[in-house]
Amino acid sequence: MTPLRTSAAAWTTAVQVAKTGARSPLAHTQQHFRLEGREIVRVMSLPEYLKDPARAKGHGLPPKDASLFQPGWEYKENAWGLSVDLGSCFGCNACVVACQSENNIPVVGKEQVGKNREMHWIRVDQYYEGTDLENPEIHHQPLMCQHCEMAPCEVVCPVAATVHGAEGLNEMAYNRCVGTRYCSNNCPYHVRRFNFLEYNGEREQEPVLKMLANPDVTVRSRGVMEKCTFCIQRINRARIVAEREGRAIRDGEIRTACQQTCPADAIVFGNINDPGANVSKLRSEPRTYWLLEELNTRPRTTYLAKVTNPNPDVEAG
């Protein structure tokens, strides 16, 4: 029993810390926090941005004829895309939890995370910048499947388990997957997740746990690759409603789980073929850039560079 605290010491009591000699390994999903000079996260101050707004874009996407294979596919009706504003994201990880609940993603636990077998489809990477080790600048970057139009993962699948859909989504056919994990090895963004253990078997045993899973989303089995689907179940639900009402899908009608949960509205989903859509407006901003654009993967997910404008008085401390 904890004794009642008086107002004299409402929040703290006398605490002592002592070494026990015991050791416990820490489990973490990110082991490296420096950008090493690469432009994964693009940050600039407001004066820098105003001087050269195109700076964030870097080289931009390579020309269309950069590949031996000419991209001959056109997405005439809907072409889904996602925009992530790094200026808004403050790394709360709400999107990770939302995605995990929406998409029936198993919680793997400390031991499996220690083996790099975490399974969440979206992660928030952190990068530290600056020379002040005590108080570095922190950048957050939500990272999910980029839904590349020239997806490197698809070409290495020996059984064509991951292919492009008619609306440009990088789709997984779980039943076709034989678990070679080539796709994951060939993904430059490291966003594919492999199901090493039969996590959903436990749910089958308990009738109450069966109801835990989202009925709109496939429950994946062991030995199968999985990844962000752009919440395809929500896309299909909106499509069915729109078809019944005989109209096109409206902008904002589909909100991905991460977008819905983001308290900073950093994530915006929509049809990039619709020039009036919110996502298209964000994509036409000069701050927009593509992650690892030089690989010519042509991602459907774009990032908005972080523009900071700190008060000089605050900066001086």
């Binding site: 590349c148 020239m150 492009h164 859909g165 042509r298």
Partner: protein, 183 residues
């Protein structure tokens, strides 16, 4: 021999020589005499005998080339049909006919069909498998063909074949022995 038969009674007339030089001379003489269906048997391959009998022109390379082309075109065509016509998929934004990906299988198809044609074509062109050959009806052939005998056969399907006169002709070439080879 009993009953009706389509094959002639004789396979040919065989002469045995002591040295390859004698055999080569005999081949030259037989060709000069106008015989065309000649065959020679030596204990080991002799290039000059092949030259003399004009045996270098095999149809096998053409057969292998044809089969290889059929294999390559067939495998490439199958890959094209499977990925561009029967089950088109957008894989990594690449065109349906992503031909560089089909090349390894096409190459393998060419090699496989070429190899098969070489092995089977060799058997077919040599008339193999063949359990017995008439030349083994000659006792000296059995004893000396793979040791020290050099044999020349004028075969019976030669247009100028006439057993007694061929026999006389071969005997004039100073052989060890001349035999009629029964079928």
């Amino acid at each position: 021999m009993h009953g009706p038969q389509t094959e002639p009674l004789l396979h040919g007339v065989m002469a045995e020589f002591r040295t390859p030089e004698e055999l080569l001379e005999a081949i030259g003489a037989a060709k000069a005499a106008g015989f065309t269906k000649l065959d020679a048997y030596t204990p080991y391959p002799i290039e000059k005998v092949l030259d003399a009998l004009d045996l270098h022109h095999s149809k096998l390379p053409l057969l292998v080339l044809g089969a290889s082309i059929v294999g390559a075109v067939g495998v490439f065509g199958f890959a094209y049909w499977a990925s561009a016509i029967d089950y088109p998929l957008n894989i990594g934004g690449r065109p349906l006919n992503s031909w560089p990906a089909f090349i390894p299988a096409t190459f393998e198809g060419a090699i496989f069909h070429g190899g098969l044609a070489a092995a089977l074509g060799m058997l077919l062109l040599n008339g193999l498998p063949r359990p017995h050959h008439p030349v083994f009806n000659v006792p000296r052939f059995v004893d000396h063909a793979s040791k020290d005998g050099y044999f020349l056969v004028v075969e019976s399907d030669d247009p100028r074949f006439d057993a007694p006169s061929v026999k006389r002709f071969l005997e004039s070439l100073a052989p060890v022995e001349v035999n009629e080879v029964e079928n």
